[in-house]
Amino acid sequence: MIAYVAKRLLAAVPVLFGLTIIVFLIMAMIPGDPATAILGSYATPENVERLNRQLGLDRSLVEQYLVWITNLFHGDFGRSYALNRPVIDEVMERLSATLLLAGTALVLASVLGLLAGVVSAVRQYGWTDRIVTFLVLVGISMPAFWLGLLLILLFAVTWRLFPASGMVAIYGGGGPLDILRHLVLPAVTLAVVATGVIARLTRTAMLEVLRQDYIRTARAKGLRERRVIFRHAFVAALVAVVPVIGIQAGFVLGGAVYVETVFQWPGIGSMLVNAIATRDILLVQGGVLVVAAAYVLFNLAADVVQTLLDPRLR
């Protein structure tokens, strides 16, 4: 197992390396440069040239990339010129906020999705199944940013139950309870789509498993239905669902971009959007690298869990 994990991690290195080159090239190719973004109306050729020189952007592309990658191997991600602080500080702070949000959403989506899937499979074509299937369809189809605004309007503006935005209260905030209150609306918003996907897959996987002979055997043995479903069928269905949860983790990370913008959650998604708009190439590079690494790790984790669940894969 350890050898397998090590092999997978090693294989990720060239992927990440290639990614940095692609991101660097894209950032170099899109028109507009940081100096123009900073100077705005005052971007005379003369001012742009002066500012680019001060930012070290007057060197050739290859040179810029080599400087960046060399510094990276020394653990230095560079300094964001738009934010005027080390890239790594900003990225790590933002990443932890995103992981908290995406992690909560994923746990929420997994629990609710599995539950809904199992319930509707067990009651196939019954009313519960129809209602759950309908809700799941609505959930999958709803744009996250729209749902987010709707929730803000209801829960923050009209009923004033939850704060409208941010991660901590402006006054006396910062405790776990305070963060939890801020977390509820964005996490629910982010979880909705993934819940739907997981519920649908769980339902299909469960239906398949429930038709298997060993389930009939289990029932024939006189096992209680609850035990048949959760001990025998559910665990087997989980093998098919876990990799999907791993992929959903990636989507949740991606979807966080919208949700973070709507809820002003200080995560890495909204950071990347701003960084691209200001052509803050070092921040983009650092952010993308870290997100990609997280994505690789999530998928690896899903594969490992799947191996543990399914003896045939060991």
Binding site: A35, N84, L153
Partner: protein, 518 residues
């Protein structure tokens, strides 16, 4: 299942019964900003969003007089300008200290300007200083004694005082720069009415009352600046009581707040101009009559009322009315007169050649550029000018427009916000400001008379004389119509009814020195 539901209910109960929704405390003003500040070093930033914080932390030698764009002394008690306009002598206020306890004196002023301008200064590397060219006319800055500073300019440069009143001219503590170096922008220290407390990245910047401020202690205990980039979220925070002041309210929402007695809406026209650059070098707009026709064809009233929903006023010429002393009040905007436009087009022999129109998706001061571009397109087509829109993202747009429209487009949207009536026409309307000469005259307008007037106004140190020159320039430019003059943006802000003495400035800076909150 039941147990699970019970657990969920219990968890919700805990979350909901937590301390009631944080109402912002009295004496503490929470301001909803449009973005995280880039830096709190006034010399390193360019955005109005950052200036809103900075003008409360720092003072400059001079500042804009309340409610105007006229300069008055601040950290300088008085100043004198030599007759030839090249020597400025400032007498500094005594007994002022920076928030870090070090004294404010002539040496500190010298340090500030040398850091920005002298590439060999030991702290020049704490930059870059993108707007330092505001002071590129400075030859030397000398401390004559502890309380006298003398600026010698390379040549007469009338906007010098307004530039000093701009945030790029705010004075920072040399000791703090020496201590924090490149991180000074996150550990700011000035002489202003508020002292820096903390900057929680992506969450808030907090400043507190400076009881020893030379202008008298401000009524507020503290101000919290919160970055909320999404306009709808900013709106929700205002409605739910999470912030006390909201700036840059979307036009759609202004009406809602206006009808609600719990809020007050403030508006103030600023030194902003939204216009269309016309390519006077080639194509249909090379003919002055076609340029005038475009001015007649476009229904500015409809743009301002329907699209901008009253958040801007119709512009009459190149100088915004906010520059009260330099603006020609006698100028009338081109009326909306499609028949006159058609007649002018016929007279010019315009053959219905299609126009290419550069539109941006967004950008600083651009208001609602796509909707405005579309409405303008419809107005032009109504008089028989087929118009094809090309839309670009803001940075790309600047990259296309700033090098000049020649060979690419007939017209482009543009907006400027400046601090002196000199800046915009000097950088965009002179022959010597063609793009290949390093200026922003992307439409290649050229009129020797305008060139002369602008040069003379820049050399003069007499405000009345400058005003006369600018007014003359405005009349010529309006008749020549190198642009379609569209709108002057009104900055807006909404406050809750707990906020008192709030006021917007034509400079668009958010001065909180006198504001109170219950």
């Amino acid at each position: 299942m039941k147990r699970f539901l019970a657990a969920v209910a219990a968890a919700l109960g805990i979350v909901l019964t937590a301390p009631a929704m944080a109402q912002t405390p009295p004496g503490v003003l929470v301001v909803g900003q449009i973005a995280e500040p880039k830096s709190l070093d006034p010399h390193a930033v360019t955005a109005v969003n950052d200036f809103r914080i900075l003008v409360n932390l720092y003072d400059g030698l001079v500042r804009f007089k309340d409610g105007t764009l006229e300069v008055e002394p601040a950290l300088a008690e008085s100043y004198e300008v030599s007759d030839d306009g090249t020597t400025y002598t400032f007498t500094l206020r005594g007994g002022v200290t920076f928030h870090d306890g070090t004294p404010f004196d002539a040496e500190a002023v010298v340090f500030n300007f040398e850091r920005m301008l002298d590439e060999s200064h030991p702290f020049h590397d704490t930059g870059p200083f993108p707007l330092s060219f505001f002071f590129s006319a400075i030859d030397t800055v000398e401390a004559k004694d502890a309380h006298t500073v003398v600026f010698t300019l390379k040549e007469p440069y009338a906007p010098f005082l307004s530039n000093l009143a701009y945030p790029t001219g705010l004075i920072v503590s040399p000791a703090a720069v020496e201590e924090y170096g490149k991180d000074f922008g996150r550990h700011p220290s000035g002489t202003g009415a508020f002292k820096f407390v903390e900057w929680q990245p992506n969450s808030r910047v907090v400043v507190e009352k400076n009881a020893d401020w030379w202008g008298g202690a401000p009524p507020l205990q503290a101000v919290v600046f919160r970055p909320i980039t999404d306009a709808n979220t900013r709106l929700a925070e205002m409605l739910s009581g999470g912030i006390d002041v909201m700036v840059e309210t979307p036009p759609d929402a202004v009406a809602t707040f206006r009808d609600d007695p719990a809020f007050t809406v403030y508006e103030q026209a600023g030194p902003h101009l939204w216009f269309l650059i016309l390519n006077a070098k080639e194509g249909p707009f090379a003919d002055k009559r076609v340029r005038q026709a475009a001015n007649y064809a476009i229904d500015k009233q409809a743009l301002v009322e329907n699209i901008l929903q009253g958040t801007a006023e119709i512009a009459a010429g190149p100088t915004p009315p906010a520059f009260a002393w330099a603006h020609d009040d006698g100028l009338e905007p081109y009326p909306h007169d499609p028949d006159k436009a058609k007649a002018l087009l016929d007279e010019a022999g315009y053959d219905g050649a299609p126009l290419t129109f550069y539109v941006t998706e967004g950008g600083s001061g651009m208001l609602d550029p796509v909707a405005m571009g579309t409405a303008i397109q419809a107005d032009l087509e109504a008089v028989g000018m087929p118009t094809r829109i090309e839309t670009y993202e803001w940075n790309t747009f600047l990259g296309e427009v700033n090098p000049g429209l020649e060979g690419k487009a007939d017209m482009a949207e543009m907006a400027w916000m400046t601090n002196d009536p000199d800046t915009l026409p000097f950088l965009t309307l002179r022959t010597a400001a063609f793009p290949d000469k390093g200026g922003f005259n992307s439409g290649y307008y050229s009129n020797p008379q305008v060139d002369e007037l602008l040069e003379a106004a820049r050399r003069s140190t007499d405000q009345d004389e400058r005003a006369k020159l600018y007014k003359e320039m405005q009349e010529i430019v309006v008749d020549d119509a190198p642009w379609v003059f569209v709108a002057n943006w009104k900055q807006n802000a909404v406050t809750s009814d707990r906020v008192e003495n709030f006021k917007l400035q034509p400079s668009f800076f958010l001065m909180l020195q006198e504001v109170a909150k219950n």
